[in-house]
Symmetry: C2
């Protein structure tokens, strides 16, 4: 009740959601930051529970994240594996992915120049281009 919650209240309202205590906790973790936050649901849930010092229901986290995603406040990232990753950076950009550590890092749009793209298949339209630059530690001679 101290800090400025207005922007979160608006963000929630514009997503068709009431500004509850739980949702405001989620907003603080997601949007009160300068750098991009890439996360899985369980990582987010842990951060929320640390910051508010009380539990939050897993269903609430899922529901709110999905609402934000559907309203363009979060993006989902294409990655191998069976966990879903989300991104607070909703501008058009690309990623480094260190598959050894699981760490994602933004690559600004202008840092990759794509000079040629194929035409979309007949009757289809290109919606977006995702680029994942997979990286790993220099020294080790790891497979795949």
């Amino acid at each position: 009740m101290i800090s400025d919650l207005k922007p979160y209240v608006e963000r929630l309202r514009s997503s068709g959601l009431r500004p509850t205590k739980q949702r405001l906790s989620i907003c603080k973790v997601l949007f009160d930051r300068k750098a991009t936050f890439h996360f899985t649901i369980d990582q987010l849930k842990k951060k929320i529970e640390k910051s508010r010092k009380s539990k939050i229901s897993l269903a609430t986290v899922y529901n709110t994240v999905h609402a934000f995603k559907n309203n363009g406040y979060l993006k989902e990232i294409s990655l191998r594996g069976n966990k879903t990753f989300f991104d607070t950076n909703v501008t058009s950009h690309y990623h480094f992915y260190d598959y050894e550590t699981g760490e994602l890092m933004d690559i600004k749009n202008e840092e990759i120049i794509v000079n040629k793209l194929p035409l979309a298949p007949k009757g289809k339209k290109i919606k977006d281009v995702e680029i994942i630059v997979r990286v790993a530690n220099n020294n080790h001679n790891q497979k795949k």
Copy 2:
């Protein structure tokens, strides 16, 4: 026992696997084709069971697919969602992904030209660059 199974036997042996009936069934579905096959495990299992007209254990499909992936005969594709997609095309290439139909299509390496890539983060090395061009039907005004 009629068709030429030698190449599959070799592929299995070189993956450290004995050529069993089940594994040869899997090989026929995976490798006896001209065009790329993009699949999930359950799609593959259904095709195998249609082609051999008897059931195959899910564990055998998983095990064999993983062995082939680890030995470079299959690739895993980065995609949103919680199902894992595999690819019989192990050459370097990119993809169209129609997220309305779930359909994946190859884009040849030379059809996309990347003219600028950022340096890998300090101490890390670029292992590969995945590009997914997400497409959807022209007409509909679908969200996301």
